[in-house]
């Protein structure tokens, strides 16, 4: 085996000093061999980004870094700035999460890449420019010679990230560190960028450190995994070992809490109880002990070291890892023991499922929300003094769906497809520009203000960002009492306490402010507020996308339990298709202001008919290494067209793989001339495509 290109041992990072010191990274070590891909996985605050910044020597001066970082055998920790600069960009380079801030806005993209080339290579300006164009071509930017002269703001998010990757590989580095490179991108773009990264690795033969919180991205991309928790590595091993034979309870919990795109049939998610410890107040023993279902008194005595478990080079930091390895504790049952009947939790659905009435067929249930031909166009204005209309943004352009009682409709699509606009149009309860919105049998166009207030009582909303949606100046009590007072409840006190218990919070918490809670708890408060008036329909706008996976699972379970117990209907807007598969009964896929496909959730996921749905589903990485390796992706080309100038005919045709590869010229003409409407092609599954056919992609 060849020598490692990057070897990190005993890396410690501390911010500040004295009692307020934050020990962000504690004893991280790994070795990276040439061409190897290492995934570092962990939730927010686990120290994974700080680790990589420390390796690059990019931490601010007040951070104290100890340990050793050897790059090709040379110690670079504590090296002079001059020596580091010689390494950075040449031997080791980095791809950051936010591609907009990684590029200088006032220079042309090509010049920035050429600059990266010229810093480390003695070439002429022209040669560097040529190399920049080559690199842009390599990362798949169309018309590279022309696009090299564009400014960063003229690039879309995906293209910017490609440009950053081009810059990172400009000097054939030996190590590329990618810090959440696809987190800010849509799934179809994420699939493109991951593909580019694979190409880049093939071309340069570099080793990659992939830092991410997305277990799906890791599964398909890396060779080895390092799981971090509270600043420490808690498990490491080959990707198959860690995914199929996890030995540390945290890893087991993390894998169990991810909603799976490829598994239908409502497997209940297993959340990890509690929250990660704050780095300035770590428990004395194992930092995971307060949340661990396998905790024994010995766990609190000392922090377990990362020790080898079983064959191969796998290690886990758990004193009971040996028991799990020997099969005395089956990994599947680790969380089953603690799952049911924790204090302050709503009862597990197992109890509720027994008494559930036989489901009423969909057609016989009442319609809670009906949207028909909804249109929302925004004028594009120009001119300072005399404003004139220069165009129209077709944000929502004729969509229709309905939600029945006790049903969840998932509304999904990439950013810019009009989901949020649709949501706002429904929530405003005003007359839409065109089309109709009927909430609980009442048309919003013909509503009096009294009726509107009555409808508001039955329709509530939960927003994406739990902190922004709670007034920071109000106590939890006042926040929860507000809807009650608005709708004429005199003494909201008892109901507020009831609500807190219902969403699994302590009733003593009523006197606190939202900022005293963690993200998951805040979202529970948001849900409690929405439930205050016992509504019939709740609109959820990306309710879990701001939360970590282990916390997210708890909130999803809560939403499912509440729906079953209270007979709610949900309109669930999300971009994460795995979550939607888990929670929704029906799904509507939006593309550029129109519905591409709508139908019963398992039908759409198992056999999608619209080429866009197919591409979307195939783009989502699965947290299953073997499946992920054997999958064939349907990659979309390019980016979402601007909603101000949608293509004629079918809006998806510019990116449609079917239009490009399969259809004959005659068939294509129809796509260009005629806009397809949603046709119901099977029982409760419809697609807006002239040439829809079922394909299995997951």
């Amino acid at each position: 085996m060849s020598d490692p290109v990057l070897e990190v041992t005993g890396l410690d990072v501390t911010f500040g000093s004295g009692p307020g010191a934050v020990h962000a990274v504690r004893g991280v070590g790994y070795a990276l061999r040439p061409g190897e891909v290492l995934g570092i996985v962990g939730e927010s605050g686990s120290g994974k980004s700080v680790t990589s910044l420390a390796v690059m020597g990019l931490l601010p001066p007040h951070a104290r870094v100890t340990g050793s970082v050897r790059l090709k055998g040379q110690e670079i920790l504590g090296a002079s700035e001059k020596r580091l600069t010689a390494f950075r960009g040449k031997t080791i380079s980095m791809v950051f999460q936010d591609p907009l801030s990684a590029l200088t806005p006032v220079y042309r993209v090509g010049d920035q890449i050429a600059e990266a080339v010229r810093i480390h290579q003695d070439v002429s300006g022209q040669a560097a420019d040529r190399r920049a164009v080559e690199l842009l071509d390599l990362v798949g930017i169309p018309n590279p010679a022309q696009r090299a002269r564009a400014f960063p703001h003229e690039f879309s998010g995906g293209m910017r990230q490609r440009a950053v990757i081009a810059m990172a590989i400009a000097n054939d580095p030996d190590v590329i560190i990618c810090d959440e490179p696809t987190t800010a991108l849509d799934v179809t773009i994420q699939a493109q960028v991951l593909e580019v990264l694979k190409t880049a690795q093939r071309e340069t033969g570099a080793a990659i450190v992939m830092i991410t919180h997305d277990l799906g991205v890791v599964a398909g991309f890396v060779d080895r995994v390092l799981v971090m928790y509270a600043g420490r590595p808690v498990e490491t091993g080959s990707v198959d070992d860690v995914y199929y034979r996890p030995r540390m309870p945290y890893t087991i919990g993390l894998l169990g809490s991810v909603p799976r795109l490829d598994l239908g049939g409502r497997r209940r998610l297993v959340p990890i109880e509690g929250n990660p410890p704050s780095p300035d107040a770590l428990p004395p023993g194992c930092p995971f002990a307060p949340r661990c279902p396998l905790v024994v008194p010995a766990c609190d005595a000392a922090e377990p070291p990362l020790e080898p478990v079983g064959p191969g080079d796998r290690r886990a930091a758990c004193i009971r890892a040996g028991e799990i390895e020997e099969g005395r504790i089956p990994p599947g049952e680790v969380y089953a023991r603690s799952g049911a009947g924790r204090a302050g939790r709503p009862a597990a659905p197992g109890a509720g499922a027994g008494e559930r009435r036989p489901p009423v067929p969909r057609g016989e249930r009442g319609v809670v929300l009906e949207v028909d031909g909804l249109i929302r166009h925004y004028p594009l204005m120009k001119g300072a003094v005399f404003k004139r209309r220069v165009g129209t943004v077709y944000a929502v352009d004729g969509i229709g769906f309905d939600i029945r009682e006790g049903e969840t409709l998932g509304l999904v699509g990439e950013s810019g497809c009009g989901k949020t606009t649709t949501l706002m149009e429904i929530l405003e309860l005003a007359r839409p520009q065109r089309g109709t919105v009927t909430v609980l049998g009442r048309d919003t166009a013909a509503m009096t203000s009294r009726e509107r207030l009555a409808v508001r009582r039955d329709m509530q909303v939960v927003f994406q960002d739990p902190l922004a949606s709670l007034d920071p100046r109000m106590t939890v009590h006042d926040i929860l009492a507000e809807p009650l007072r608005t709708h004429g409840v005199r003494d909201p006190g008892p109901r507020v306490r009831e609500l807190l218990t219902l969403v699994g919070l302590d009733r003593q918490h009523a006197a606190r402010y939202p900022q005293d809670f963690s993200g998951g708890q805040r979202q529970r408060i948001g849900i409690a507020r929405a439930l205050a008036l016992e509504p019939r329909l709740i609109v959820l706008d990306e309710p879990v996308s701001a939360l970590d996976v282990s916390i997210q699972a708890g909130v999803i379970n809560l939403l499912e339990d509440l729906k079953d117990r209270l007979g709610l209907s949900y309109l669930f807007v999300a971009h994460d298709l795995s979550v939607v598969r888990h929670i929704a009964d029906r799904i509507a896929v939006m593309y550029l202001g129109r519905i591409a496909e709508i139908g019963q959730v398992d039908r759409v996921y198992d056999t999608p008919m619209h080429p866009y749905t197919q591409a979307l589903l195939s783009a989502i990485p699965l947290p299953d290494p073997e499946k992920e390796r054997s999958r064939v992706r349907i990659l979309l080309e390019g980016d979402l067209p601007s909603p101000a100038a949608p293509p004629s005919g079918c809006r998806f045709r510019t990116r449609c793989p079917k239009f490009r590869d399969v259809l004959s010229d005659g068939e294509r003409e129809r796509c260009v001339d005629e806009e397809p409407a949603v046709r119901v092609l099977d029982e409760d599954q419809g697609a807006a495509c002239h040439y829809a056919e079922k394909i299995k992609v997951v």
């Binding site: 927003f463 949606s469 109000m474 507000e482 009733r507 900022q515 439930l531």
Partner: protein
């Protein structure tokens, strides 16, 4: 089906009743927990007590003149000495303080309140409300405040101090209301305002319950500064012979007179100036702790 029934039994099962912590109680609790707040509040109360109860302890009234003691230093007869006219410093200072406390505090509160309401309405509703309100604001901004107050000063003579307060407040609020307006516009897009709107909360209630409390840091700082500004405006008006008219006195007129004799008869100046400083200090302490009490992100000092 309702959860109420389900958990009612549990509710009755003897869970001890917890008080309903409303915002007012929590803010008051936090205010009085901070040492600064307690000191400031105590000082302010002491000032009011001194100003309104103090005169009853003294046999001299502010209109009396003792012709046997001109510019006399503090003694048993005249606790804080006398002025050149023979007036008792203790009596006139307290009389002046009554005026200044009321004028200063009231004008500041009214001015800041007006700024908050006008700014928040303009920023929340936009459109015509905004245009009309901002037009009025701009108009008031270009009017020479001092000149108008000077011209109107005869009106304040006959005990019309309330009118005087209102006029002072009227020229204090415009700049703040412009700041409030722009902050409201950005606040309006925050999700918790959307949430309240979609809950069916009346726009007026949203403004008073969500918008203005979230601007309270700015408003409290502004009100604190306005107290000093109002007292000083009144002082300078009185200095030029407008504002509070003789024989009535105010802190302003007293300081103006006392400044002339401050060097060789310090009691004519320092009692008055000292009380003014203590008052402004108390207001600032109260303002600071109120701001912290309203702001849940502020570090709690015990």
């Amino acid at each position: 089906m309702s959860i109420a029934d389900e958990e009612h039994a549990e509710e009755l099962a003897g869970v001890e009743k917890i008080g309903t912590p409303s915002r007012l109680k929590v803010v008051a609790g936090r205010f009085f927990r901070s040492g600064q707040g307690r000191i400031g509040f105590a000082l302010l109360v002491a000032m009011f007590l001194l100003a309104f109860a103090g005169p009853h302890l003294n046999k001299w009234s502010y209109t009396d003149k003792d012709f046997s003691a001109f510019l006399a230093p503090p003694s048993a007869e005249h606790w804080w000495g006398t002025l050149q006219t023979g007036a008792d410093v203790y009596a006139v200072t307290l009389r002046g303080m009554q005026k200044s406390l009321i004028v200063g505090l009231l004008a500041a509160v009214v001015g800041t309140g007006l700024a908050a309401v006008v700014g928040a309405f303009a920023g929340y509703f936009l459109g015509w409300t905004d245009r009309t309100l901002m037009w009025v604001t701009d108009l008031l901004l270009v009017l020479p405040a001092f000149l108008i107050l000077a011209i109107m000063s005869p009106l304040f003579a006959e005990g019309q101090w309330l009118l005087f307060v209102l006029m002072l407040a009227l020229f204090l609020w415009m700049v703040t209301s412009k700041i409030v307006r722009s902050m409201t516009i950005s606040l309006k897009e925050r999700e918790f305002i959307h949430a309240a709107r979609f809950m069916g909360v009346h726009p007026m209630k949203i403004i008073f319950r969500h918008v203005i409390p979230n601007l309270s840091s700015l408003l409290i700082v502004d009100a604190t500064l306005n107290v000093s500004a109002a007292i000083l405006t009144e002082t300078s008006l009185s200095y030029f012979g407008f504002g509070i008219q003789p024989p009535d006195v105010s802190m302003g007129s007293l300081i103006a007179d006392g400044a002339k004799t401050a060097v060789y008869a310090p009691w004519t100046f320092w009692f008055c100036a000292g009380l003014l400083i203590v008052t402004v200090l108390a207001v600032n302490l109260v303002g600071d702790s109120l701001r912290d009490a309203f702001d849940p992100t502020a570090r709690r000092n015990r």
